[in-house]
Subunit: 193 residues, 2 copies
DNA sequence: TCACGCATGTAAGAGGTTACATGATTAG
DNA sequence: CTAATCATGTAACCTCTTACATGCGTGA
Protein backbone atom coordinates (compact mmCIF):
# COMPACT_ATOMS: atom_id res chain seq x y z
CA UNK A 1 0.00 0.00 0.00
CA UNK A 2 2.96 2.31 0.57
CA UNK A 3 4.21 4.54 -2.24
CA UNK A 4 7.89 4.38 -3.19
CA UNK A 5 10.14 7.35 -3.82
CA UNK A 6 9.89 6.75 -7.55
CA UNK A 7 6.12 6.64 -7.12
CA UNK A 8 6.15 10.09 -5.55
CA UNK A 9 8.49 11.34 -8.25
CA UNK A 10 6.03 10.23 -10.93
CA UNK A 11 3.08 11.63 -8.99
CA UNK A 12 4.77 15.00 -8.68
CA UNK A 13 5.32 15.13 -12.43
CA UNK A 14 1.72 14.03 -13.11
CA UNK A 15 0.47 16.71 -10.71
CA UNK A 16 1.57 19.29 -13.28
CA UNK A 17 0.40 17.55 -16.45
CA UNK A 18 -0.80 14.18 -17.80
CA UNK A 19 1.84 11.99 -19.40
CA UNK A 20 2.44 8.52 -20.79
CA UNK A 21 5.01 6.28 -19.14
CA UNK A 22 7.26 6.92 -22.08
CA UNK A 23 6.94 10.71 -21.65
CA UNK A 24 7.78 10.41 -17.95
CA UNK A 25 10.87 8.38 -18.77
CA UNK A 26 12.03 10.93 -21.32
CA UNK A 27 11.34 13.80 -18.92
CA UNK A 28 13.50 12.16 -16.29
CA UNK A 29 16.44 11.99 -18.70
CA UNK A 30 15.96 15.39 -20.33
CA UNK A 31 18.20 18.39 -19.61
CA UNK A 32 15.09 20.00 -18.06
CA UNK A 33 16.26 17.30 -15.79
CA UNK A 34 13.93 16.55 -13.06
CA UNK A 35 15.28 14.20 -10.43
CA UNK A 36 17.25 11.26 -11.80
CA UNK A 37 17.15 8.85 -14.72
CA UNK A 38 14.76 6.00 -13.99
CA UNK A 39 14.47 3.06 -16.40
CA UNK A 40 11.30 2.26 -18.26
CA UNK A 41 11.38 -1.21 -16.73
CA UNK A 42 10.86 0.48 -13.37
CA UNK A 43 8.51 3.23 -14.50
CA UNK A 44 5.87 1.04 -16.18
CA UNK A 45 5.33 -1.34 -13.25
CA UNK A 46 5.35 1.63 -10.86
CA UNK A 47 2.61 3.33 -12.85
CA UNK A 48 0.38 0.26 -12.73
CA UNK A 49 0.97 0.06 -8.98
CA UNK A 50 -0.06 3.71 -8.59
CA UNK A 51 -3.12 2.93 -10.69
CA UNK A 52 -4.08 -0.07 -8.53
CA UNK A 53 -3.72 2.21 -5.49
CA UNK A 54 -6.15 4.69 -7.04
CA UNK A 55 -3.58 7.50 -7.16
CA UNK A 56 -3.58 7.78 -10.94
CA UNK A 57 -5.92 6.78 -13.77
CA UNK A 58 -5.15 6.25 -17.42
CA UNK A 59 -6.84 6.72 -20.71
CA UNK A 60 -5.90 4.17 -23.38
CA UNK A 61 -5.24 5.75 -26.76
CA UNK A 62 -5.23 3.59 -29.88
CA UNK A 63 -2.82 4.70 -32.57
CA UNK A 64 -2.36 3.46 -36.13
CA UNK A 65 1.20 4.50 -37.04
CA UNK A 66 2.61 4.22 -33.51
CA UNK A 67 2.10 1.72 -30.67
CA UNK A 68 -0.97 2.27 -28.52
CA UNK A 69 -0.37 4.30 -25.40
CA UNK A 70 -1.77 5.05 -21.94
CA UNK A 71 -2.07 8.65 -20.83
CA UNK A 72 -1.83 8.78 -17.05
CA UNK A 73 -3.58 11.43 -14.97
CA UNK A 74 -3.30 12.04 -11.24
CA UNK A 75 -6.49 11.50 -9.18
CA UNK A 76 -7.78 13.67 -6.33
CA UNK A 77 -6.53 11.01 -3.90
CA UNK A 78 -3.10 11.11 -5.53
CA UNK A 79 -2.97 14.89 -5.34
CA UNK A 80 -4.06 14.87 -1.69
CA UNK A 81 -1.46 12.25 -0.77
CA UNK A 82 1.28 14.15 -2.60
CA UNK A 83 0.44 17.39 -0.78
CA UNK A 84 0.69 15.67 2.61
CA UNK A 85 3.92 13.87 1.70
CA UNK A 86 5.58 16.99 0.29
CA UNK A 87 6.12 18.68 3.66
CA UNK A 88 6.71 15.56 5.76
CA UNK A 89 10.25 15.00 7.14
CA UNK A 90 12.81 13.15 5.00
CA UNK A 91 16.29 11.85 5.62
CA UNK A 92 19.09 13.66 3.80
CA UNK A 93 20.19 11.83 0.65
CA UNK A 94 22.79 9.08 0.68
CA UNK A 95 25.46 9.85 -1.90
CA UNK A 96 27.27 6.80 -3.25
CA UNK A 97 29.89 8.38 -5.47
CA UNK A 98 32.47 6.01 -6.93
CA UNK A 99 34.72 8.91 -7.93
CA UNK A 100 35.07 9.84 -4.26
CA UNK A 101 36.32 6.33 -3.46
CA UNK A 102 38.76 6.55 -6.34
CA UNK A 103 39.88 9.92 -4.99
CA UNK A 104 40.56 8.25 -1.66
CA UNK A 105 42.99 5.90 -3.40
CA UNK A 106 44.82 8.67 -5.26
CA UNK A 107 47.77 8.48 -2.86
CA UNK A 108 48.72 5.09 -4.31
CA UNK A 109 48.46 5.83 -8.05
CA UNK A 110 50.32 7.81 -10.71
CA UNK A 111 49.20 11.46 -10.80
CA UNK A 112 48.92 11.66 -14.61
CA UNK A 113 46.08 9.16 -15.19
CA UNK A 114 44.42 10.54 -12.07
CA UNK A 115 44.46 14.03 -13.56
CA UNK A 116 42.99 12.69 -16.76
CA UNK A 117 40.12 11.12 -14.81
CA UNK A 118 39.31 14.31 -12.96
CA UNK A 119 39.63 16.46 -16.06
CA UNK A 120 37.05 14.26 -17.73
CA UNK A 121 34.62 14.70 -14.85
CA UNK A 122 35.23 18.44 -14.69
CA UNK A 123 34.26 18.68 -18.35
CA UNK A 124 31.21 16.51 -17.81
CA UNK A 125 29.88 18.68 -15.00
CA UNK A 126 30.69 21.92 -16.82
CA UNK A 127 28.66 20.64 -19.77
CA UNK A 128 25.75 19.76 -17.47
CA UNK A 129 26.05 23.19 -15.93
CA UNK A 130 25.69 24.83 -19.33
CA UNK A 131 22.57 22.80 -20.07
CA UNK A 132 21.02 23.93 -16.79
CA UNK A 133 22.00 27.54 -17.44
CA UNK A 134 20.10 27.37 -20.71
CA UNK A 135 17.00 26.13 -18.88
CA UNK A 136 17.53 28.93 -16.37
CA UNK A 137 17.52 31.54 -19.13
CA UNK A 138 14.27 30.05 -20.47
CA UNK A 139 12.62 30.17 -17.08
CA UNK A 140 13.80 33.69 -16.33
CA UNK A 141 12.18 34.84 -19.56
CA UNK A 142 8.83 34.72 -17.72
CA UNK A 143 9.57 36.28 -14.32
CA UNK A 144 5.90 36.49 -13.26
CA UNK A 145 5.75 32.70 -12.85
CA UNK A 146 8.94 32.68 -10.77
CA UNK A 147 7.35 34.90 -8.17
CA UNK A 148 4.10 32.99 -8.04
CA UNK A 149 4.49 30.25 -5.39
CA UNK A 150 1.46 28.40 -6.79
CA UNK A 151 3.06 27.99 -10.23
CA UNK A 152 4.87 24.75 -11.15
CA UNK A 153 7.48 26.94 -12.84
CA UNK A 154 8.31 28.38 -9.43
CA UNK A 155 9.04 24.87 -8.12
CA UNK A 156 10.98 23.93 -11.23
CA UNK A 157 13.14 27.00 -10.72
CA UNK A 158 13.84 25.92 -7.15
CA UNK A 159 15.10 22.49 -8.10
CA UNK A 160 17.02 23.98 -11.02
CA UNK A 161 19.01 26.06 -8.52
CA UNK A 162 19.90 22.86 -6.71
CA UNK A 163 21.10 21.23 -9.93
CA UNK A 164 23.10 24.34 -10.85
CA UNK A 165 24.72 24.47 -7.44
CA UNK A 166 25.54 20.78 -7.46
CA UNK A 167 27.16 20.78 -10.89
CA UNK A 168 29.06 23.99 -10.26
CA UNK A 169 30.42 22.71 -6.97
CA UNK A 170 31.36 19.34 -8.47
CA UNK A 171 33.20 20.96 -11.37
CA UNK A 172 35.07 23.27 -9.00
CA UNK A 173 36.13 20.30 -6.89
CA UNK A 174 37.39 18.35 -9.92
CA UNK A 175 39.34 21.38 -11.08
CA UNK A 176 40.82 21.83 -7.63
CA UNK A 177 41.91 18.16 -7.55
CA UNK A 178 43.66 18.49 -10.92
CA UNK A 179 45.45 21.61 -9.72
CA UNK A 180 46.44 19.97 -6.46
CA UNK A 181 47.92 17.00 -8.33
CA UNK A 182 49.80 19.41 -10.61
CA UNK A 183 51.20 21.25 -7.65
CA UNK A 184 52.33 18.15 -5.78
CA UNK A 185 53.95 16.72 -8.92
CA UNK A 186 56.38 19.60 -8.84
CA UNK A 187 57.38 18.69 -5.27
CA UNK A 188 57.91 14.99 -5.94
CA UNK A 189 60.74 13.49 -7.98
CA UNK A 190 60.17 13.43 -11.75
CA UNK A 191 59.26 10.01 -13.26
CA UNK A 192 62.01 7.90 -14.85
CA UNK A 193 61.44 7.78 -18.62
CA UNK B 1 34.48 -12.62 -9.64
CA UNK B 2 33.74 -8.93 -10.06
CA UNK B 3 34.23 -6.55 -7.14
CA UNK B 4 31.31 -4.31 -6.16
CA UNK B 5 31.53 -0.61 -5.37
CA UNK B 6 31.26 -1.38 -1.67
CA UNK B 7 34.05 -3.92 -2.15
CA UNK B 8 36.33 -1.21 -3.57
CA UNK B 9 35.31 1.15 -0.79
CA UNK B 10 36.39 -1.42 1.80
CA UNK B 11 39.58 -2.20 -0.12
CA UNK B 12 40.50 1.48 -0.26
CA UNK B 13 40.12 1.75 3.51
CA UNK B 14 42.09 -1.44 4.08
CA UNK B 15 44.84 -0.14 1.77
CA UNK B 16 45.64 2.43 4.47
CA UNK B 17 45.33 0.21 7.53
CA UNK B 18 44.02 -3.16 8.73
CA UNK B 19 40.55 -3.18 10.27
CA UNK B 20 37.82 -5.48 11.53
CA UNK B 21 34.43 -5.42 9.81
CA UNK B 22 33.09 -3.58 12.81
CA UNK B 23 35.82 -0.92 12.53
CA UNK B 24 35.04 -0.43 8.84
CA UNK B 25 31.36 0.01 9.63
CA UNK B 26 32.12 2.60 12.29
CA UNK B 27 34.56 4.41 10.00
CA UNK B 28 31.90 4.72 7.34
CA UNK B 29 29.52 6.41 9.77
CA UNK B 30 32.09 8.59 11.53
CA UNK B 31 32.37 12.35 11.00
CA UNK B 32 35.79 11.62 9.47
CA UNK B 33 33.19 10.49 7.03
CA UNK B 34 34.51 8.44 4.29
CA UNK B 35 31.98 7.65 1.59
CA UNK B 36 28.56 6.65 2.88
CA UNK B 37 27.01 4.65 5.69
CA UNK B 38 26.97 0.95 4.80
CA UNK B 39 25.21 -1.55 7.07
CA UNK B 40 27.05 -4.32 8.86
CA UNK B 41 24.75 -6.82 7.17
CA UNK B 42 26.29 -5.74 3.89
CA UNK B 43 29.87 -5.24 5.09
CA UNK B 44 30.40 -8.68 6.64
CA UNK B 45 29.31 -10.72 3.60
CA UNK B 46 31.28 -8.37 1.35
CA UNK B 47 34.45 -8.95 3.39
CA UNK B 48 34.11 -12.72 3.10
CA UNK B 49 33.61 -12.34 -0.65
CA UNK B 50 36.79 -10.24 -0.89
CA UNK B 51 38.55 -12.89 1.14
CA UNK B 52 37.37 -15.70 -1.15
CA UNK B 53 38.63 -13.62 -4.09
CA UNK B 54 42.05 -13.39 -2.47
CA UNK B 55 41.95 -9.61 -2.22
CA UNK B 56 42.06 -9.54 1.58
CA UNK B 57 43.11 -11.96 4.33
CA UNK B 58 42.11 -12.00 7.96
CA UNK B 59 43.64 -12.91 11.25
CA UNK B 60 41.22 -14.32 13.82
CA UNK B 61 41.69 -12.84 17.29
CA UNK B 62 40.20 -14.60 20.31
CA UNK B 63 39.06 -12.28 23.08
CA UNK B 64 37.83 -13.05 26.60
CA UNK B 65 35.85 -9.96 27.58
CA UNK B 66 34.65 -9.12 24.04
CA UNK B 67 33.43 -11.22 21.11
CA UNK B 68 36.14 -12.75 18.94
CA UNK B 69 37.09 -10.70 15.93
CA UNK B 70 38.70 -10.90 12.50
CA UNK B 71 41.29 -8.34 11.51
CA UNK B 72 41.27 -7.91 7.76
CA UNK B 73 44.37 -6.96 5.76
CA UNK B 74 44.61 -6.16 2.05
CA UNK B 75 46.72 -8.55 -0.06
CA UNK B 76 49.16 -7.63 -2.83
CA UNK B 77 46.52 -8.73 -5.34
CA UNK B 78 43.98 -6.48 -3.66
CA UNK B 79 46.35 -3.54 -3.71
CA UNK B 80 47.21 -4.11 -7.37
CA UNK B 81 43.55 -4.35 -8.37
CA UNK B 82 42.68 -1.21 -6.42
CA UNK B 83 45.45 0.78 -8.12
CA UNK B 84 44.20 -0.21 -11.57
CA UNK B 85 40.58 0.49 -10.70
CA UNK B 86 41.35 3.89 -9.14
CA UNK B 87 42.08 5.66 -12.42
CA UNK B 88 39.62 3.78 -14.64
CA UNK B 89 36.62 5.73 -15.98
CA UNK B 90 33.43 5.91 -13.91
CA UNK B 91 29.96 7.23 -14.51
CA UNK B 92 29.01 10.34 -12.57
CA UNK B 93 26.92 9.55 -9.49
CA UNK B 94 23.15 9.19 -9.58
CA UNK B 95 21.61 11.42 -6.94
CA UNK B 96 18.22 10.24 -5.69
CA UNK B 97 17.24 13.06 -3.36
CA UNK B 98 13.72 12.89 -1.97
CA UNK B 99 13.89 16.51 -0.82
CA UNK B 100 14.30 17.60 -4.44
CA UNK B 101 11.06 15.80 -5.35
CA UNK B 102 9.32 17.44 -2.44
CA UNK B 103 10.67 20.78 -3.62
CA UNK B 104 9.14 20.11 -7.02
CA UNK B 105 5.74 19.84 -5.34
CA UNK B 106 6.11 23.05 -3.33
CA UNK B 107 3.80 24.94 -5.67
CA UNK B 108 0.84 22.94 -4.36
CA UNK B 109 1.47 23.17 -0.60
CA UNK B 110 1.30 25.77 2.18
CA UNK B 111 4.55 27.77 2.40
CA UNK B 112 4.82 27.60 6.21
CA UNK B 113 5.34 23.83 6.66
CA UNK B 114 7.54 23.91 3.56
CA UNK B 115 9.77 26.52 5.18
CA UNK B 116 9.95 24.40 8.30
CA UNK B 117 11.13 21.42 6.25
CA UNK B 118 13.86 23.39 4.52
CA UNK B 119 14.96 25.10 7.71
CA UNK B 120 15.45 21.67 9.24
CA UNK B 121 17.64 20.53 6.34
CA UNK B 122 19.61 23.76 6.35
CA UNK B 123 20.44 23.16 10.01
CA UNK B 124 21.35 19.55 9.32
CA UNK B 125 23.81 20.43 6.58
CA UNK B 126 25.28 23.33 8.55
CA UNK B 127 25.95 20.92 11.42
CA UNK B 128 27.59 18.45 9.04
CA UNK B 129 29.65 21.29 7.64
CA UNK B 130 30.92 22.16 11.10
CA UNK B 131 31.96 18.55 11.72
CA UNK B 132 33.90 18.53 8.46
CA UNK B 133 35.51 21.85 9.27
CA UNK B 134 36.79 20.35 12.50
CA UNK B 135 38.35 17.47 10.58
CA UNK B 136 39.82 20.02 8.19
CA UNK B 137 41.49 21.88 11.06
CA UNK B 138 42.94 18.58 12.30
CA UNK B 139 44.33 17.73 8.88
CA UNK B 140 45.75 21.19 8.29
CA UNK B 141 47.67 20.87 11.55
CA UNK B 142 50.15 18.67 9.66
CA UNK B 143 50.66 20.46 6.33
CA UNK B 144 53.59 18.29 5.23
CA UNK B 145 51.25 15.32 4.66
CA UNK B 146 48.83 17.47 2.64
CA UNK B 147 51.55 18.23 0.10
CA UNK B 148 52.75 14.65 -0.16
CA UNK B 149 50.72 12.97 -2.93
CA UNK B 150 51.77 9.53 -1.65
CA UNK B 151 50.26 10.12 1.79
CA UNK B 152 46.75 8.81 2.62
CA UNK B 153 46.17 12.11 4.43
CA UNK B 154 46.55 13.88 1.10
CA UNK B 155 43.72 11.76 -0.36
CA UNK B 156 41.59 12.19 2.75
CA UNK B 157 41.96 15.95 2.39
CA UNK B 158 40.80 15.74 -1.21
CA UNK B 159 37.59 13.93 -0.38
CA UNK B 160 37.06 16.18 2.61
CA UNK B 161 36.96 19.17 0.24
CA UNK B 162 34.21 17.40 -1.68
CA UNK B 163 32.19 16.84 1.49
CA UNK B 164 32.71 20.45 2.57
CA UNK B 165 31.61 21.76 -0.80
CA UNK B 166 28.60 19.50 -0.93
CA UNK B 167 27.31 20.41 2.52
CA UNK B 168 27.99 24.11 2.04
CA UNK B 169 26.16 24.18 -1.26
CA UNK B 170 23.23 22.18 0.09
CA UNK B 171 22.84 24.48 3.10
CA UNK B 172 22.98 27.55 0.86
CA UNK B 173 20.27 26.10 -1.35
CA UNK B 174 17.99 25.31 1.61
CA UNK B 175 18.48 28.83 2.92
CA UNK B 176 17.70 30.29 -0.47
CA UNK B 177 14.48 28.23 -0.69
CA UNK B 178 13.32 29.47 2.72
CA UNK B 179 14.01 33.07 1.68
CA UNK B 180 12.24 32.61 -1.63
CA UNK B 181 9.16 31.24 0.13
CA UNK B 182 9.28 34.19 2.56
CA UNK B 183 9.44 36.62 -0.32
CA UNK B 184 6.59 35.10 -2.28
CA UNK B 185 4.38 34.93 0.81
CA UNK B 186 4.42 38.71 0.90
CA UNK B 187 3.13 38.82 -2.66
CA UNK B 188 0.30 36.34 -2.16
CA UNK B 189 -2.84 36.98 -0.15
CA UNK B 190 -2.49 36.44 3.63
CA UNK B 191 -4.02 33.19 4.99
CA UNK B 192 -7.48 33.29 6.56
CA UNK B 193 -7.13 32.71 10.31
C1' DT C 1 19.37 -1.34 -44.92
C1' DC C 2 20.04 0.11 -40.56
C1' DA C 3 19.24 2.71 -36.73
C1' DC C 4 16.27 5.66 -34.21
C1' DG C 5 11.84 7.21 -32.16
C1' DC C 6 7.58 5.67 -30.51
C1' DA C 7 5.43 2.58 -26.81
C1' DT C 8 4.77 -1.06 -23.17
C1' DG C 9 6.07 -4.56 -20.77
C1' DT C 10 8.45 -9.28 -18.30
C1' DA C 11 12.32 -11.91 -16.04
C1' DA C 12 16.49 -12.46 -13.78
C1' DG C 13 19.79 -10.79 -10.94
C1' DA C 14 22.53 -7.40 -8.28
C1' DG C 15 22.65 -4.16 -4.49
C1' DG C 16 20.86 -2.44 -0.22
C1' DT C 17 17.77 -2.23 4.05
C1' DT C 18 15.36 -4.12 8.03
C1' DA C 19 14.78 -7.44 11.28
C1' DC C 20 16.53 -11.07 13.96
C1' DA C 21 20.01 -13.80 16.82
C1' DT C 22 23.72 -14.03 20.37
C1' DG C 23 26.20 -12.52 24.56
C1' DA C 24 29.64 -10.30 27.73
C1' DT C 25 31.05 -5.80 29.82
C1' DT C 26 30.57 -1.08 31.15
C1' DA C 27 28.55 3.43 31.99
C1' DG C 28 24.54 6.08 33.55
C1' DC D 1 18.15 -1.80 35.66
C1' DT D 2 18.80 -0.25 31.16
C1' DA D 3 21.26 1.14 27.33
C1' DA D 4 25.35 1.25 24.76
C1' DT D 5 29.68 -0.81 22.99
C1' DC D 6 31.96 -4.62 21.11
C1' DA D 7 31.53 -8.23 17.33
C1' DT D 8 29.72 -11.29 13.54
C1' DG D 9 26.46 -13.02 11.01
C1' DT D 10 21.65 -14.87 8.47
C1' DA D 11 17.02 -14.26 6.21
C1' DA D 12 13.52 -11.81 4.08
C1' DC D 13 12.44 -8.14 1.53
C1' DC D 14 12.56 -4.05 -1.42
C1' DT D 15 14.69 -1.32 -5.12
C1' DC D 16 17.05 -0.85 -9.26
C1' DT D 17 19.56 -2.43 -13.41
C1' DT D 18 20.23 -5.37 -17.43
C1' DA D 19 18.56 -8.11 -20.82
C1' DC D 20 14.91 -9.61 -23.61
C1' DA D 21 10.48 -9.24 -26.49
C1' DT D 22 7.57 -6.87 -30.00
C1' DG D 23 6.66 -3.92 -34.06
C1' DC D 24 5.60 0.08 -37.15
C1' DG D 25 7.26 4.43 -39.51
C1' DT D 26 10.84 7.56 -40.92
C1' DG D 27 15.16 9.49 -42.24
C1' DA D 28 20.18 8.72 -43.48
Amino acid sequence: MAVTTLGYALLSLLAVKSYTGYDLGRLMRSPISVFWEARYSQIYPELSRLESQGLVTYQAVTQHDFPDKKIYTITDDGRALLRIWATEPVDPPVIRDELVIKAYSLWMVDPEPAQELFRYHEQYHLAKLQQYEEVQRDLEASPEALNDPTSPTFAQYIILQRDLGFEREYAVWCHWVVERLEQTMRFSSPPIN
